[in-house]
Amino acid sequence: MERQSNRLAVLLTPALILAIVIVSAYGYFAYSSLFAKGPMGSGFAGTITFENYTRVLASASNRSVLFTTLYASVVMSVLTIAIAVPMAMVIVRAKRQWVANLIMLAIAVTFLSGGVTRAYSWLILLGNKGLFNLALTELGMIERPLKLLYNWLGVGIAIVHYLLPFAVFTLVGAVRNLNPSVEEAARSLGASRSVTFWRVTMPMLLPGLMVTLTLIFSIALASFLFPMLLGGGKVRMIANQIYDRMFVDYDIPYAAATSVVFLVSAFVAIWLMTLLSKQVKRLNER
């Protein structure tokens, strides 16, 4: 017994220290949200107040950024899943191994190239004189260049592209665990390809799908770089707002309050998602 509890202590201590360090930094930041902005050079000062929270929640523009961030993240995550599922299926089930390898390689390259590189690549591709518009104009399909940058479209494309590797890599595992015989059984019982996909394949994938959705949703929520570089000041997500409050206004308590509100809403959103997935699962079983 003595030895065992010793071992437990040895194993737990580093984890605990790490957890405390990580949480305490954020805790201190959250704590600062309860004070007023301090004089130049200091973070915060004064007595405890909830004024920062009223500022965050009362302002319509603040609420709009928060809801836009949540809503856009849901849309982008679902879109990513919609693209990632067929990709994962092809990777796992391709008859020719090189097809699977090629797609994996393409995804790995995107995954490993940094965010800034990718943002500038999208600038080149999506600009008014970018490859996309140039090709479409040359082909005579459009008269004037499409506006693909400095709006949600461009930011959305870049973020979905950024999320894709995370989704594909986690879904490949889920698809690999599917037993193809189960789908074949459905086919032999009279289900068409699409009925088999929706009634058998998707329900079996659902747990993996929900894990993936939650993962990429949390990554999407924290988007900062793409709205900043491709949004042209018009597309703002919550991380950009927090950044501005910290490094433009130097109002750390206000930034902290925004973060806390954001964190709570993100948790609620993820909790709702889990609830929804349980509901969907129950519907499926009926």
Partner: protein
């Protein structure tokens, strides 16, 4: 469930090629309605590929698959009306037993009340009525396979395909299910194709047994003929004959053939298309090799006992004769002499069960 239609199945010049690998070569099989065809062979012999082509999961490279005289090889699997049972059960994990069984009827647009009646009947048939609301993960392997069987049969399929259906079950359970499967198939009169690598299962369940090797049907026969008269060395070995020897034809007559095995002459009462002096291979099961004392008056092959072991109802001998290893079984139920290891004996081959194999 009532008796079903008994569709006939005919495979014509069936071929399957993957890139450069020929999985199935010129397979021709003709099965009358209501019987069980068993495809027996080692893994990779093409038996599962044939089953998957019949089910429609794998395209036919060339040849035809005729069910009641109609070629189905171009039809999508969901329009084939074929029930399939897989080795790993392949139940829908997110549906209850009842929902699993109802699936095929649901796909056919059968009304809910009719579905419920049919599902209840099907579950009675496989003795699982009490588990209708369970999920597959809550069932044992044997129960899951019975659900799979009910699910496949409820659509009243033209053919029932069984892909190593009992392979994942333990021996005791397997034997019970074999009997159930056999009775059910007889009762329903459904034409069935079974794939297995287990020779006992094949012998027990087959009306027609096809032994496959490297994508070809090596021999098609009824199980007993196949067991007693393997045509080739591969079939003999796959059906568990350890004694396969080189022999020479001494005399090829009109009514009988005499062969020489290491100088020991055995006269078979069959006419074989072999010339006198030709080399051939013979196959004898251990039970058809009789051990007698060395001074016995009957002609036989002199040998020495290397090992003798009691295995329940038989004594299994390993013998040696001039470098040739021979296995023989003696029944322990009949009081035959027990020969000690190292003793000299004489081996008498049963001419009826000594089979000359095709080269």
């Amino acid at each position: 469930m009532k008796k079903m239609q008994s569709s006939s199945l005919r495979l014509e010049q069936l071929n399957k090629t993957y890139d450069t690998f020929q999985a199935v070569t010129d397979v021709n099989l003709d099965i009358p309605g209501g019987s069980i065809l068993t495809l027996l062979g080692p893994s990779g012999c093409g038996k599962t590929t044939i089953l998957r082509m019949i089910a429609g999961f794998s395209n036919v490279t060339s040849g035809r698959i005729l069910v009641d005289g109609t070629d189905i090889s171009g039809i999508e699997p969901n329009f084939r009306d074929i029930g399939m049972v897989f080795q790993n059960y392949a139940l829908f994990p997110h549906m209850t037993v009842a929902k699993n069984v109802a699936f095929g009827l649901q796909m056919r647009g059968v009304s809910r009340s009719e579905q419920a009646t049919a599902v209840a009947d099907a579950l009675v048939m496989v003795k699982l009525s009490h588990l209708a609301d369970r999920y597959p993960s809550q069932l044992s392997g044997g129960q899951q396979q019975r659900v799979a069987l009910a699910r496949a049969l409820i659509i009243k399929p033209k053919l029932l395909l069984l892909d190593e259906p009992l392979g994942a079950l333990d021996r005791h359970l397997r034997e019970g299910l074999q009997m159930e499967l056999r009775n059910l198939q007889r009762e329903l009169g459904i034409t069935t194709v079974l794939v297995t690598h287990d020779q006992e299962e094949a012998l027990y369940l087959a009306d027609h047994l096809a032994v496959m090797n490297k994508g070809r049907v090596e021999q098609l026969d009824n199980p007993l003929s196949l067991y007693d008269r393997p045509r080739t060395e591969f079939v003999a070995r796959f059906l568990g004959v350890p004694n396969i020897f080189d022999a020479v034809v001494l005399d090829s007559g009109a009514t009988g053939t005499t062969i020489s095995l290491r100088g020991h002459a055995i006269t078979l009462d069959r006419k074989l298309g072999l010339a006198t002096g030709a080399a051939c291979k013979v196959s004898v099961r251990p039970s058809h090799v009789e051990l007698v004392a060395a001074d016995d008056p009957r002609p036989g092959l002199a040998a020495n006992v290397v090992i003798g072991r009691e295995l329940g109802e038989r004594t299994a001998y390993h013998l040696e004769s001039g470098g040739l290893m021979i296995e023989a079984n003696a029944s322990r139920m009949r009081s035959v002499e027990r020969f000690a290891e190292g003793s000299a004996v004489k081996l008498v081959f049963d001419p009826v069960h000594t089979v000359v194999l095709e080269a």
